[in-house]
């Protein structure tokens, strides 16, 4: 066992110093523990993002965590602050918030006055070579160094220390001698630090690369910020002592080490808040929040259920008791209040996620899933045993989500509301581009590689180069790329910058800046410096205000069609017929090729089928080969069996298959005798990819409890094997049910109001699975023509004209303000000619060119080339019209889809002559037929498979519709570069026609690019 030395490193940077820390927090902790270092002080640049993970990692290995930060001061100097106790942490949050918010984004700058005003509980260290004192001494300005040190000492009486480090840089020894002398003269204690930026000496290379990225330099460049040597690593106490003794002598060294230890002892390791901090809900009277929640829930239950049965009452009381015991009544009321605001403002919303397991959430209008009727377990959402913070997710119409946030901000005050951040990390493409640039690769070389890269972790790059055909086709010289691949592996998953969580906000009972520093995000909102997991550890509760464009599209469609959304039935037979035929392009959650193929086999005829569908087409069930057995059981081709009669009720609705997380909880409860809360804990433990040993241990517990509960050992073992297999990818039933409701209603709209629905989808792009070109094709297939924009008829969105869809004015290069100017001018009187339009609107040239290419002025002149000449100042006389190919290419460029025809028409004659089929013909051919089809590849993807072999799915789009193509590994390995390569063009695919259910598909045998047709290059 390593001897723990009386020494701690007080100045340590983690990867959260963003490009200035090269060793992961867990590794830093392990290295410290292995060297017997008693404590580490986290001092990242201007942020505390690593604090929670740092504390957890150090606690795990028995090293004391000290929390602090290195601040950037006016003039670019550095100063280190360490938290002595909890108050110091709160003050550090305040100081850093001011440093960020009072300065330009990403250029935080702390003012010494702000530090002094909030200095309680903080210890000041003089900083590294970029500290003001070190800089003064290095420039031989003794007086200035003395003045600054005196000022610091006065501002932090008994809490200011000089930092002394032996970095083995030129001038270090002289600097250290002067620092020691300064300390002696002014009576300031000196402590030993090493400005640690990496754990091992070898990690210097990683740090050097990060520094190059940070300073936008190449390895070959000379840059002052790049350290000369590799000495900023986690040195052992012995090394630190020896270097100091060499530099300053034994006596000074002993005093410095003693000072360092006393500072370690002085700083508390429990400075991070953890107590629940949520604002008390203003009930508007003396009524308590618990009482108000009870009242609202029972009022809601009356309107939801009419009569409150004993089952409903028991369930509501059970939930309210848990909510009350955990202290979350205020949280529920706050969410209730904001959905009430959404309702009163006409903002469409839908509660989702595990909150839909709650009957209280249903009764007070947060969700639309009747968890009691569905038999959903509240404990999947909240339990006393797990005592995890609740997390309510609500989707809002994307256009108004920010309005909801604004309401919350106004109601609870700016100082108590903020967005949760995300730690955006190095992904494979960004790693290749940034690291490659630092190493000195040409941009083109990196672009070639990055564009072909699949979505793999950056540390799998080297392996991927030989695994994926599109990467092999690049024929990269491995020697040249060796360092790049190695560094991509080392930096995989390293935090790169703070982003804004898609919808997570936190509300705090106390000022948020007591708990987290805030900074400005790119989108102009204040974000906490902690992500969703870390804010929870700090006692904050997150509410997810998600923006869902499908809700915007639904809102547009129901408005256009004058439809009562709430009255849309969930059992409309013709809608289910459409779903069964897989005609679901554009339908929420049911439109992917896998979903469409499933629907053609599943024979869905009621709501539960759609709930199961939402849960089935996920990586887990697909990887676990669950889909086919489920379909077979659903359609009576396989018997429904269960391992124990007690499972019959639990697995009835999924035909004996464990599909939902709630089922795992119920099984553990019924078979293992766990309480629901314990069972959910078990499920969570099993979910988080445990090692085989850990899983075996869990299994032992489950099996022994099941045996005690009357199950035979054999059955208990089998049941555990079963839930073990599904626990890692089981889906939350409540969430599936919430999504299924929207899915069926959107399918109803697509079925009965296709013009309104597809117009709404096109207005809200980008959204959904398919690009606009596929949606236009789908609308056309349903008999809805999409018309070009018209300067006298189009608006800002796509609109319905009879049974046709009119394209919007928002073409490429069109600004909303210009479009509004067009509408404003048009409201005075219609435009009478192209010239009249130009004269009155005076639009920018790029926007006019796009409008012309989209066909916006076809009513006056269909010769678009002539109009382009006119727009550019020419006369536009005797100009030949565009060919069809050119016309389509320019339409696609302006609109993202074509109107005058489909680009595949350009090849069709030749394809017909060659016996190539189109998508509409496949339905008439027998399965097993050898066919060749051609089209544009749409969304090629490689979902994970149980065998680990690569199966690629894509659709081919031609002028008649889509053909779904499956490409197995052997074919993919030959032709993958045409599917995922850098330049994608229309493909021909030869293969065998397959039919699963009524669904024609193609199993590819050979494929390749179609011979080029010049204008189609634009596609």
């Amino acid at each position: 066992m390593t001897e723990i030395r009386r020494f701690g490193h007080l100045h340590v940077h983690s990867p959260f110093s963003f490009l200035d820390g090269a060793t992961r927090i867990g590794e830093l902790a392990s290295i410290a523990a292995s060297m017997g270092i008693a404590a580490l002080g986290l001092t990242d640049h201007d942020n505390l993002s690593g604090a929670v993970k740092f504390k957890e990692a150090l606690n795990e290995v028995g090293v004391k965590p000290i929390i602090g930060a290195e601040l950037t001061m006016e003039g670019g100097h550095h100063l280190v602050l360490l938290c002595e106790h909890r108050k110091g942490y709160a003050n550090l949050c305040k100081i850093m918030t001011r440093a960020h918010l009072e300065n330009e984004r990403l250029k935080p700058c702390a003012r010494f006055r702000a530090i002094v005003e909030n200095s309680e509980g903080l210890i000041l260290l003089s900083g590294c070579r970029r500290g003001e004192i070190a800089e003064a001494l290095l420039s031989r300005n003794w007086k200035r160094a003395r003045d600054i040190a005196s000022m610091y000492k006065r501002a932090f009486p008994g809490r200011f220390f000089l930092e002394l480090s032996e970095w083995l840089l030129p001038g270090s020894r002289t600097l250290n001698g002067l620092l020691w002398q300064l300390g002696e003269e002014l009576g300031i204690p000196v402590v030993a630090t090493n400005d640690v930026h990496y754990g091992n000496k070898e990690d210097f290379k990683v740090h050097d690369i990060l520094t190059c990225i940070r300073t936008d330099t190449r390895l070959e460049d000379v840059a002052p910020e790049r350290p000369l040597n590799a000495e900023n690593y986690l040195k052992s106490p012995g090394q630190m002592e020896r270097l100091l003794a060499e530099s300053l002598g034994r006596a000074a060294c002993e005093r410095i080490m003693a000072n360092t230890w006393s500072l370690v002892e002085r700083c508390s390791e429990d400075v991070l808040p953890s107590a629940l901090s949520f604002p008390a809900f203003e009930t508007g009277s003396s009524e308590s929040s618990e009482s108000m929640l009870r009242r609202l829930t029972y009022d809601g239950a009356v309107s939801r259920y009419g009569k409150i049965s004993s089952t409903v009452k028991a369930r509501i009381d059970h939930e309210l008791e848990i909510i009350s015991k955990l202290g979350y009544a205020d949280y529920f009321l706050t969410v209730w209040d904001l959905v009430k605001f959404a309702q009163s403002s006409g903002i469409r919303y839908a509660g989702r996620g595990s909150a839909a397991d709650s009957a209280v959430a249903y009764c007070i209008g947060i969700t639309e899933v009747d968890s009691i009727a569905r038999g959903l377990l509240f404990e999947r959402f909240l339990s006393l045993e797990r005592a995890q913070k609740p997390d309510i997710d609500i989707d809002f119409d994307a256009r108004f989500r920010d309005k909801i946030f604004e309401y919350v901000r106004r109601k609870y005050g700016d100082e108590r509301v903020g967005w949760v951040c995300t730690y955006n990390t190095f992904q494979v493409r960004s790693a290749v581009r940034e690291i490659g640039k630092a190493i000195g690769f040409q941009e083109e070389e990196l672009d070639n590689l990055a564009k072909c890269l699949p979505h793999i972790p950056a540390d799998c790059l080297e392996e991927a180069i030989t695994k994926f055909p599109e990467l092999r086709a690049l024929r990269l010289p491995m020697d040249k790329f060796k360092l790049l691949f190695e560094m991509c592996g080392r930096l995989a998953g390293f935090p790169r910058f703070l982003g804004t969580h898609l919808g997570g906000i936190v509300l705090s009972g106390s000022p948020l800046t007591d708990i987290t520093p805030l900074q400005m995000a790119a989108k102009g909102v204040k974000i906490a410096q902690f992500d969703k997991d870390d804010v929870e550890a700090l006692g904050l509760i997150k509410i997810d205000l998600l923006s869902l464009k499908m809700l915007s599209a639904i809102e547009d469609a129901v408005r256009a069609g004058g439809i009562d959304y709430d009255a849309i039935p969930l059992n409309d037979e013709t809608t289910f017929k459409m779903i069964r035929e897989g005609e679901t392009v554009g339908v929420f959650q049911l439109e992917s090729p896998a979903q469409r193929a499933l629907q053609r086999r599943l024979n869905a005829d009621h709501f539960e089928d759609i709930v199961a569908s939402v849960a089935l087409i996920r990586p887990g069930p697909v990887k676990g080969n669950m889909v086919d057995p489920f379909v077979a059981r659903r359609n009576g081709r396989e018997p429904v069996t269960v391992l124990d009669p007690r499972l019959e009720n639990i697995l009835e609705k999924t035909y004996g298959v464990v599909l939902f997380q709630e089922q795992v909880i119920e099984i553990a409860t019924v078979i293992g005798g766990f309480t629901p809360g314990e069972a959910d804990k078990l499920r969570r433990v099993m979910t988080h990819g445990r090692s085989r040993e850990e899983m075996d241990k869990i299994g032992e517990i489950f099996i022994s409890k099941a045996i005690r509960n009357g199950t035979s050992p054999e059955v208990a073992k089998k049941i555990f094997e079963c839930i073990k297999e599904y626990a890692s990818y089981g889906f939350c039933e409540a969430h599936a049910a919430a999504f299924a409701t929207t899915a069926i209603k959107s399918a109803y709209l697509a079925n009965h109001y296709p013009a309104q629905y597809y117009a709404a989808l096109l207005s809200n792009q980008p959204m959904g699975y398919y690009p606009p070109s596929v949606l236009v094709l789908e609308a056309k297939r349903r008999g809805i023509q999409v018309l070009p924009p018209c300067v006298n008829r189009s608006g800002l969105s796509f609109s319905v004209e009879g049974v046709q869809i009119r394209s919007s004015l928002m073409v490429r290069d069109m600004d909303k303000a210009i479009a509004q100017r067009i509408l404003q001018e048009r409201s005075k009187r219609p435009f009478s000619s192209f010239e009249d339009f130009l004269h009155r609107v005076k639009p920018p040239r790029d926007a006019v060119l796009s409008l012309i290419c989209a066909g916006t002025f076809d009513q006056w002149n269909t010769n678009r080339r002539a109009l382009l000449w006119k727009a550019c100042g020419g006369e536009g006389k005797d100009i030949e019209e565009f060919s069809l190919g050119e016309k389509l290419a320019y339409e696609y460029r302006s609109l993202g889809f074509t109107i005058s025809g489909h680009p595949m028409m350009l090849w069709r004659e030749k394809l017909n002559r060659s016996g190539v089929r189109n998508s509409s013909e496949l339905g008439y051919l027998a399965p097993g037929a050898a066919v060749t089809v051609a089209g544009f590849p749409v969304r090629p993807h490689r979902p994970p498979t149980k065998s680990g072999r690569i199966t690629t799915f894509m659709s081919l789009e031609d002028e008649f519709g889509l053909v779904d193509v499956t490409i197995f590994e052997d074919v993919y390995q030959k032709y993958g570069c045409f599917i995922f390569g850098k330049c994608l063009s229309p493909l021909w695919v030869s293969g065998i026609l397959s039919k699963r259910g009524k669904s024609p598909g193609l199993i590819a045998k050979h494929l390749g690019p179609l011979p080029s047709y010049h204008p189609a290059r634009v596609f």
Partner: protein
């Protein structure tokens, strides 16, 4: 002092407790006794080209200042600079 720069030199040094104590070096046919080591630093050089870390010393000898370095890859000492 016109001594050749960046040439191999001979050095007398003690290796004590993992650190080198430079005592004397020979250059241009003459031995210089190190009276004081003023600074000592490491330079990683062009690591991406396989260069190894060099160890530099700024020393006082024969009333002059010298910078010498040790290059572990070739196990050689070299004179880097002379401050006349």
């Amino acid at each position: 002092m016109s001594l050749p720069k960046d040439v191999p030199i001979r050095v007398m040094a003690l290796n004590y407790d993992g650190s080198l104590k430079l005592r004397a070096f020979s250059c241009g046919g003459r031995w210089y006794r190190v009276t004081r080591v003023l600074e000592e630093w490491f330079d990683t050089g062009e690591w991406w080209k396989g260069e190894s870390e060099k160890r530099f010393y700024r020393v006082e000898a024969a009333l002059s200042l010298f910078e010498v370095y040790y290059e572990p890859q070739s196990k050689t000492w070299r004179l880097y600079k002379v401050y006349d």
